[in-house]
């Protein structure tokens, strides 16, 4: 097991190297630069431009800038933001918990709703139930998130007043940061229960919006995977032995159908992060998605290249965890991997 982890970590180095190169090049290929972005229509004189360039280290050859970035990144120093002057790593972890909280709940909702929908559609195959559920999930899958979020806000928040419009918690609660996860930190405030309730309240709508696309893919995947399994011989055997439909589906079919579903869920992690960019922007959710968007707008090179590299690390780490879980769950995978 230990050998496997080491092997995997070494194998991830070229990936990280590639990501660092792409992240570094990508933001520099976007026209404009941080200094011009800062001045806008005011313009900037040549003299001041050159001075600021030198001040930010942008006057050095690009190759040299890249190697200094990679070299420092290896020691855990991702540089300082051009805009706020604070270390990128500090800024990243200030916002990361907000994204985790939202992403986790979004994924949870997607699984909680998506799998039962898929099961119903598979069991009631080719009935109006199936058509309605799969039709709806197709709509959900292709939903423009921005528009969808605004519609939900207008209906639930402004018209009905059931949920707050945006933010993570009511501004009336002054929460001190302990973990960065408000569902936990709210318990340390002056009014724990009310603050917690407010945090949950604020989470519902954005989590649901973020869940929309993964939910639809999970439902569709569950349906097709379950249908495939339901055609297998051992299912027919179970049925012929007189087991109820419920027992056949839940005990025999679903377990085996879950394997591809779990894989899809693992792959959806990337989709959740992309979805978070839009969702966070609309709901004023102070996570890394929205932060990255503002950083790209301001051409804040250190933030963009640093955070993309950090996100890649997180994804590689999660994938490694998923793989390890597989091996623990399924012993037959062990030999081939060690």
């Amino acid at each position: 097991m230990f050998k496997l982890i080491v092997k995997r970590l070494i194998a991830s180095l070229p990936t990280l190297f590639g990501v660092s190169l792409v992240a570094f090049a990508f933001i520099r290929l976007v026209p404009g630069d941080p200094i011009l972005a800062m001045f806008g229509e005011r313009g900037v004189s040549e003299e001041m431009y050159l001075e600021m360039q030198a001040n930010l280290g942008l006057d050095k050859p690009v190759i040299q800038q890249y190697f200094s970035f990679v070299g420092k990144a290896m020691t855990g120093d991702f540089g300082n933001s051009i805009v706020s002057r604070e270390p990128v790593i500090k800024e990243f972890f200030a916002r990361f918990p907000a994204t985790i909280e939202l992403g986790f709940l979004g994924m949870f909702l997607a699984i909680l709703i998506g799998i039962p929908i898929g099961i119903i559609a598979a069991v009631k195959r080719n009935t109006p139930w199936d058509y309605t559920l799969m039709g709806t999930s197709l709509v959900g899958y292709s939903m423009p998130i921005f528009w969808w979020a605004l519609v939900l806000i207008m209906f639930f928040s402004v018209n009905k007043g059931w949920t707050p419009v945006s933010g993570r918690i009511s501004v009336m609660y002054d929460i001190n940061r302990v973990t960065g996860l408000l569902l936990i930190d709210s318990w340390f405030s002056d009014e724990p229960w009310l603050a917690f309730k407010s945090a949950v309240h604020h989470l519902i709508l954005p989590a649901f919006v973020l869940a929309t696309v993964p939910l639809a893919s999970i439902a569709r995947m569950t349906r097709s995977s379950l249908l495939e399994v339901l055609g297998e011989d051992y299912i027919r055997t179970a049925k012929s032995k007189g087991l109820t439909l419920k027992a056949v589906v839940v005990i025999h079919a679903l377990r085996n159908a879950l394997i591809p579903i779990v894989t899809v869920i693992g792959l959806l992690l990337g989709a959740v992060l992309t979805g978070a960019i839009l969702t966070e922007t609309i709901f004023s959710w102070p996570g890394i998605g929205r932060w990255l968007v503002t950083a790209v707008e301001a051409r804040d090179y250190p933030i963009v290249q640093g955070s993309i590299l950090l996100i890649a690390c997180v994804i590689i780490f999660v994938n490694l965890m998923v793989d390890i879980t597989y091996i623990i769950v399924n012993p037959t995978l062990r030999d081939s991997n060690t």
């Binding site: 005011r42 930010l56 419009v165 933010g167 922007t281």
Partner: protein, 528 residues
């Protein structure tokens, strides 16, 4: 049971005391970059720092562009216009925060500290937080100020290298805010210099409490504020980047006041009984610059023809939804020295054709218009305006191709003069006509890249420069009016619009005065 009643009554008492405190929530549009206006260039940073936490030697009178006393009670200008002496206000308290308790009140050392930090490269704070002091320098202050001299504890003198009339107005600008020298020393001793811009201490109406990144900023009223404590007790900036979401939050009662509501939302806010909208013409201008370095725009007849060919009244309705007025001059009507006598160029395609014929272009020509890639109050939709301009110009035989780029690329290429015709605009900094007429149309601005018409006219330049060295408003006005007349005859731009600035708030908000500069000031604001 007794315990429960006790708890309930305790809870009620707590609730009551909480209810007495007035908390004002402002839905702001972006995160501040830092809490020091010396280092900022954007409105979000200024609203969160200079207009809440800090004061300046002189202030813009609330709601106008006139300069009035601030931390300085009075001032005198020497005869040659090169020395400004200020008498400082006594007994002005700096904020007491969690980490710092001031031991003295405001004096001349604080003024020295604040200006020397920006001017003096060897000042211990000069390089802190990457200080390049963009705004200070882009107003040319580094070259204008030769020295700041402390005459005594409460008297300070600025010695200038040249007479510079807009100087006083510049001192009322955000970057000229006064920081505490004592706090600077306190942090230097703790080796935490960088905190001066993150945990700010000023003299202003609100005390900084806390900033939760991208989420909110908390302030409390400064009890010892020299003009008296603010009417609200707590001020919260709830950062909400999306325009339509801000409006939704206002409607849902999650904030009392929103910055920059979308023009398309104004009607629905007006229709809402719980909300109100106020507006005033902004200190701005939207224009179409013609690159006078390129043919055929070097010909004044062509420029005049284009001025006659565009139906600007139609743009007011279609693009500004009636929330702007056609601009006749490059400066807005709220500014002193505005040339009222100017006659506009009427929409007259026939006249345009005649002028083109006179210029030898009766068959028209092909060119491009760069359309503004971002939405600004002075031009909410560059693309739509471009299409309308295209149609108007086609009628007089000018074939236009519309071009656009990403914002920063747009500016970079435009500063380099790559365009033929270009949409852009300007929002004033200090309320001084120089800030429009010289910054946007002066000869030096061609090189600096902010004169997008790349127009350098000797006569015009003469008037603008003469006006700049005098402090006599009458004299300055005369020259600025002359300059505007030359502009109107030469028309390097088609002046398009001065947009109105809207502020939307809950009905119960009182005491808010709109600033011509667009900044949001909550001192004096109350909620019913």
């Amino acid at each position: 049971m007794r315990l429960i009643t006790f708890l309930i009554s305790l809870f009620m008492a707590f609730n009551l005391s909480a209810a007495k405190k007035k908390t004002f929530v402002y839905c702001s549009e972006a995160s501040p970059k830092i809490f020091n206006p010396q280092l900022g260039t954007d409105g979000a940073t200024f609203n969160a720092s200079s207009r809440t936490i800090y004061n300046r030697l002189v202030e813009f009178k609330q709601g106008s562009t006139k300069v009035s006393p601030g931390l300085a009670t009075k001032w005198t200008v020497s005869k040659d216009g090169k020395e400004f002496t200020f008498d400082l206000r006594k007994g002005v308290q700096f904020h007491t925060t969690e980490n710092y308790t001031p031991k003295r009140t405001f004096n001349a050392d604080d003024v020295l500290f604040s200006f020397n930090r920006m001017m003096d490269k060897s000042h211990p704070y000069h390089l802190v937080n990457g200080g390049t002091y963009e705004y200070f320098r882009s107003m040319d202050m580094g070259k204008v100020i030769s020295k700041v001299e402390k005459l005594d504890e409460y008297k300070i003198k600025f010695i200038l290298t040249r007479p510079e009339a807009p100087f006083l107005a510049n001192l009322a600008m955000d970057f000229a805010s006064i920081l505490s020298a004592e706090y600077g020393d306190h942090l230097a001793a703790k080796k935490q210099k960088e905190k001066i811009d993150m945990l700010p201490v000023g003299t202003g109406p609100f005390v900084f409490k806390k900033y939760v990144k991208d989420t909110l900023i908390r302030y409390t009223a400064h009890v010892g504020y020299y003009e008296g404590k603010a009417k609200i007790d707590n001020l919260i900036f709830s950062i909400t980047t999306d325009k339509s979401v801000r409006t939704q939050k206002l409607k849902a009662g999650e904030c009392h006041f929103v910055n920059e509501p979308s023009v398309t939302d104004i009607a629905s806010i007006r229709a809402n009984k719980k909300l109100k909208v106020i507006s005033q013409p902004g200190l701005n201008v939207g224009y179409l610059a013609m690159n006078t370095e390129k043919k055929p725009f070097d010909n004044v007849l062509v420029r005049q023809a284009i001025n006659h060919a565009l139906n600007r009244e139609a743009y007011m309705k279609a693009i500004y939804l009636g929330n702007a007025t056609v601009a006749k001059n490059p400066i807005p009507p709220t500014m002193w020295s505005y040339q009222k006598a100017t006659k506009g160029y009427d929409f007259d395609p026939e006249k345009a054709k005649k002028l083109l014929k006179k210029a030898g272009l009766e068959n028209g020509f092909e060119t491009t218009i760069w359309t503004l890639p971002v939405s600004r109050p002075y031009n909410p939709s560059g693309k739509k305006m471009g299409e309308m301009m295209q149609a108007d110009l086609a009628k007089v035989g000018i074939k236009v191709k519309l071009v656009t780029f990403k914002w920063t690329e747009y500016l970079k290429k435009a500063s380099a003069g790559e365009h033929d015709m270009l949409q852009l605009g300007w929002t004033g900094d200090n309320g001084d006509p120089d800030n429009f007429l010289n910054t946007l149309l002066g000869c030096a601005a061609v090189k600096a890249g902010s004169n997008y018409a790349r127009w350098c006219n000797k006569k015009y330049q003469f008037h603008v420069e003469r006006a700049k060295v005098s402090t006599d408003i009458g004299f300055r006005s005369k020259h600025y009016k002359e300059a505007q007349a030359i502009f109107k005859q030469q028309v390097p731009w088609v002046t398009i619009a001065h947009s109105k600035v809207f502020k939307a708030m809950a009905k119960g908000v009182t005491g808010y005065t709109q600033s011509p500069f667009g900044s949001d000031i909550f001192y004096g604001v109350d909620i019913q």
